[in-house]
């Protein structure tokens, strides 16, 4: 190799080496900033993923409801007739709110004036075993001075359902045992879906 060519090679090698060192230093400094940005974005992503997981749980719950063959809640009057003897409740709708996909949340107040309080748990059990279920939100019991075991029971129950009456914007007058679910009969067989174990539905795979 000619001395000139060797000198050029050595000069190039030195220049490239210095360039490499410079590039490495610049990259290291930039990577520190980039790593911080990635860390922030990853944190954002994990928070969004947590929201998505919650949303998926909600949607899975909606899907369970969607899979019901009958989407209308059972009539509380019918249930009370079957579970509670010698007492007719006053039933009135407290609130109704539109939910997603045509579903409605109804909150009903069921008041038994003089009732054998021991029969209330049976009524509640029957209501909660319905599909879609009635859920007890608040329960107020007051014993009567007339006789042991008798008393007044005021139950606030809610259910998610489709069909029936349109939700009212304000409280409706007392139904007096004729709740608006004419198609719904007496307490039917329990649905085999996700309520048996009362487990929170898992989000669908891939969601």
């Amino acid at each position: 190799m000619k001395p000139g060519a060797l000198f050029i090679l050595q000069a190039c090698a030195l220049a490239v080496f210095l360039g490499g060192i410079l590039a490495a230093i610049v990259t290291i400094r930039q990577n520190v900033l980039l790593r911080e940005k990635i860390r922030n974005k990853t944190e954002t992503l994990s928070r969004l993923a947590a929201i998505k997981q919650a949303r998926d749980q909600h949607q899975a719950a909606v899907h369970v409801f969607e899979s019901l063959s009958n989407a209308a809640p059972a009539a509380l009057a019918s249930l009370s007739r079957a579970a509670v003897t010698n007492a007719t409740p006053e039933i009135r709708e407290r609130e109704a709110r539109n939910l997603t996909a045509g579903w409605t949340l109804r909150q009903m107040e069921v008041v038994f004036s003089e009732v054998d309080l021991n029969q209330i748990p049976g009524f509640l059990l029957a209501a909660e075993q319905e599909r879609p279920p009635w859920r007890l939100v608040e329960c107020t019991l007051a014993s009567s001075r007339k006789a042991d075991g008798l008393g007044r029971a005021a139950l606030i129950m809610e259910a998610v359902g489709k069909g029936g009456q349109q939700p009212a914007r304000r409280s409706l007058p007392t139904y007096g045992g004729a709740e608006g679910n004419p198609g719904r009969g007496e307490v039917g067989p329990t649905d085999g879906g996700g309520w048996n174990g009362r487990q929170t539905p898992e989000p669908d795979a891939g969601r």
């Binding site: 090698a13 980039l34 749980q57 608040e138 107020t140 009362r198």
Partner: protein, 476 residues
């Protein structure tokens, strides 16, 4: 000759490559002694003396295998060169290296530009200054030496120094005794056919070398002995113990060796030792020094006299170093670029995932960059209102809790008058026959997980105790 010196540097290799096979050629008058040496994979050097016929075949082999780690080494006779210890007044080796050529120039009887030289060893002498051993030869002497080799059909890649070669080989074959006191001097007398070389040293420290013409027959010439004694008087203290070592072609003649030894021990008593195979001693030394790293290595075939193969090897080494540095630079640049690209790719991927997830969670919303969380949260809060009741349907029921509360009341034998149960609160009023029954109820509710606040009223007109329970938490 100082012996309490500290060795700072000794030249351990002069070849830019590691030859595996070496031919050492020592010229003695018109003849040449050639030794072939090769280094085995274990590092052991094996040697064989070549006959003149072998030497002719060797030249052919050498011509064919010049690129294959095969080297030929010759030497410059002591009479054509010099070795000299130069003492600098400086204590720094780096500074001493700068002034030593000037000191050498002062010592030389000819201009420094006319000679080739190499500093082969640096020592710190007791006063702290630097002493350096230089080996030098006139350019003309080097040219003449190369011509003599070429007349023999050889073109040595390296020109070693005869005195240094003899000294290191003598130490290799007869190691000095480092702990012996007083310090043993060693005088190596190389008896070639045409000259005598005298090398003086102490322990492992090389002192100096001298050369004399060899008379024929040597034993009959008292002049040779007298000249040797003159030289030795200059280099050795009178009466010092000396190890006399003989080698060279004429050292195989016992009468010559014994006569010289008897004459010399009168002034410097000491034992006589002859090296084995003395005729090939110098050629062996040249091979050993070329094949193995060690002290006092020297090559006076420098500058314009540099052998083309050595020059090519130096070029190759410089080229390899440059290519290595180039490759290192390219690798660093490549790694930097790759690292940066990978980082940016990852960042872009995370951003895309965020954008996709944001669009999925807040469909139809225009989400500004960096505002994903608030926008999605806002959209989700709106949506959750519509779907939360579905999930609530799967929460634990309140009816069993009602049964448990009633059961706890029965267990404590209290009469409940009013009961208000919500998901996370419970209010009870009632009466108890006994103050402690309320405590049992309180305990039972705590067992259910409630934080209970119990208020009891002292019975005034009646025996019964009225109580109120406000309980929090414990919801199913």
């Amino acid at each position: 000759m100082a012996t309490s010196e500290k060795l700072l540097y000794t030249c351990r290799s002069t070849v830019p490559f590691r030859p595996r096979i070496c031919y050492g050629v020592a010229l003695a008058g018109a003849a040449a002694v050639t030794v072939r040496a090769w280094r085995s994979s274990g590092g052991t050097v094996r040697q064989a003396v070549l006959t003149p016929g072998d030497a002719a075949a060797r030249r052919q082999e050498l011509a064919e295998s010049a690129q294959n780690g095969c080297a030929t080494v010759g030497c410059l006779a002591v009479q054509d060169s010099l070795t000299l210890w130069l003492n600098s007044p400086l204590t720094s080796r780096a500074k001493a290296e700068k002034v030593l050529p000037s000191l050498l120039d002062i010592q030389l009887p000819f201009p420094l530009e006319d000679c080739l030289y190499q500093f082969v060893e640096f020592r710190r002498i007791p006063d702290g200054t630097i002493s350096a051993l230089v080996c030098a030869a006139r350019r003309e002497a080097v040219r003449t030496c190369l011509d003599r080799y070429q007349a023999q059909g050889d073109d040595p890649m390296m020109l070693d120094h005869e005195g240094l070669a003899l000294w290191t080989q003598s130490l290799a074959e007869l190691p000095s005794e480092p702990r012996r006191q007083p310090a043993p001097y060693r005088v190596l007398i190389y008896l070639a056919d045409d000259h005598v070389t005298l090398v003086i040293g102490c322990r492992e420290r090389y002192g100096n070398a001298h050369s004399l013409q060899m008379p024929s027959p040597p034993a009959a010439d008292d002049g040779l002995i007298r000249r040797l004694q003159l030289l030795l008087h200059a280099g050795l203290p009178a009466g010092a113990g000396v190890q006399w070592v003989f080698c060279g072609a004429r050292a195989a003649e016992p009468s010559v060796v014994e006569t010289m030894h008897k004459s010399l021990i009168k002034d410097w008593p000491g034992p006589l030792t002859c090296h084995k195979e003395p005729a090939s001693f110098l050629a062996r030394a040249l091979c050993e020094r070329a094949l193995k790293r060690g002290p006092l290595r020297c090559n006076l075939r420098q500058q314009t006299f540099t052998h083309p193969a050595v020059r090519r090897a130096v070029d190759r080494r410089a080229r390899a170093a440059a290519v290595g540095i180039l490759a290192a630079g390219l690798l660093m640049a490549g790694f930097s670029l790759t690292s940066r690209l990978l980082g940016e790719h990852r960042f872009a991927r995370v951003k895309a995932e965020i954008a996709a997830l944001g669009a999925e969670l807040a469909p139809g919303a225009a989400i500004p960059y960096g505002r994903e969380i608030p926008e999605v949260q806002k959209a989700w809060e709106k949506q959750a209102l519509l779907t939360a009741p579905f999930l609530d349907a799967f929460a634990p029921l309140l009816a069993p809790r009602l049964a448990e509360v009633v059961k706890a009341g029965r267990a404590s034998a209290v009469r409940l008058e009013t009961l208000n149960l919500r998901r996370n609160s419970l209010v009870l009023t009632g009466v108890a026959d006994d103050w402690d029954q309320c405590g049992q109820l309180e305990q039972g509710l705590k067992t259910l997980g409630y934080t209970v606040k119990l208020q009891r009223q002292e019975a005034i007109a009646e025996n019964e105790v009225r109580f109120t329970v406000n309980a929090e938490g414990g919801g199913p």
